[in-house]
Assembly symmetry: C2
Homo-oligomer: 232 residues x 2
């Protein structure tokens, strides 16, 4: 069933190889369209041997997704140095790299549906959202967020998801523009909340104090001042 | 099995009654937790009679969801009169009414999962998103949106969804504040896009030209001017 060379692969090594092969296939097409036969062929092993490692397509899909989720959560990590705008822009660059690499699989997963919408997959999606949320809070140097800050950060994470999904659907706006736009959106959502809440206003002032004029937030403020007529 | 009074209900009337009863139950608990027996009891009919009208729980769930989706899409309708900010605020009020009325069912549906994540339910969710998107475009008096405008409006619709879901999870921020915040968020996302795109800038200027100083957008601009130091 397997060659001598293949048989020398250890159990964990073989599992990891299958997960990597499956992730590659699940990234480029909807999971519905990927068969165990295809995964077996791509891994160079027999169909029964795939079942030896994974009881079925769903468990292999979930293992591949776990790997992708860990990878994505990792991309939100960023040294806590320098202005926040530039940090967020680097994070968005890595986020769009991920979305680009896993496009069709990312769309299928986030849009839900019978093949992908299990409670295990939803828990994995939530774990990435949570990791992204915690990273942003860490960059803001805040350990115990207010309900308003939590709402701003979590809804921005969700905005990043939906923007990426809309981008994948036709790629009509260049991704570099969207990466920058999402950084600006973070500033804008924070500013809206800050306009009506003193605690949020203090956070916004602290962030803007360290932003250079030519950074994403400085540039946005300057453009908006020109664009929107002052009420006074 | 049924009383004389009940037997006089016509087929369509009975179907509608079952849908209304099911929607009420599915709104207040996760669909997983609602049984056909419970629906039958609430409707005052036998379990076999429920199956006479609907082949199973999923088809009844989908019918209830269709009714809810039509209702929600309807709430995005708003006369095209007066300033945009005030219109959007009325729409957000009706949207949060809906979310409030259907809380646990709305959460379960939007979070996906085995009982609710079918392709039929996803299509219904998308139909509401599309209706909301088209309503907003109509309020902006735009028939053929640019890719950037489409992105702003669709991502704002998704922001309204995620904000409502976060609100349901503990209701820590008063809903009236979030309704207003989402109107402001619409202005903010539009402004971010307008800062880097002439077509979006023209739309923003046109909207702001008809906004009164005391309206949601006028008030936000005035507060932000005070809050954010001008770069010049």
């Amino acid at each position: 069933m397997t060659t001598g060379v293949r048989r020398r692969m250890g159990v964990e090594e073989r599992r990891q190889q299958l997960i990597a092969v499956a992730l590659e296939l699940f990234s480029h097409r909807s999971p519905d369209e990927v068969s165990i036969d295809e995964i077996a062929t791509a891994a160079g092993i027999s169909r029964p041997l795939v079942y030896h490692y994974f009881p079925g397509k769903l468990s292999l899909y979930e293992a591949a997704l776990r790997k992708a989720a860990e990878d994505l959560a990792e991309r939100f990590r960023e040294p806590r140095e320098g202005p926040l705008g530039a940090r967020l822009l680097r994070v968005m660059g890595r986020f769009f790299d991920f979305v680009d690499e896993h496009g069709p699989g990312f769309s299928a997963l986030m849009r839900g549906g019978p093949a992908v919408g299990s409670s295990a997959t939803n828990a994995l999606i939530d774990s990435v959202r949570q990791a992204a949320y915690e990273q942003i809070l860490a960059h803001l140097d805040i350990r115990v967020p207010s309900a308003r800050l939590e709402l701003v950060v979590r809804s921005w994470v969700s905005l990043a998801e939906s923007t990426a999904l809309l981008w994948l659907d036709g790629r009509q706006v260049p991704r570099a523009e969207l990466e920058l736009q999402l950084v600006h959106d973070f500033g804008a959502l924070t500013a809206v909340s800050a306009a009506y809440d003193d605690e949020m206003a203090a956070i916004l002032r602290r962030v803007l104090a360290t932003e250079p004029p030519e950074g994403p937030f400085g540039d946005l403020v300057e453009r908006l001042v020109t664009l929107v007529p002052s009420p006074r």
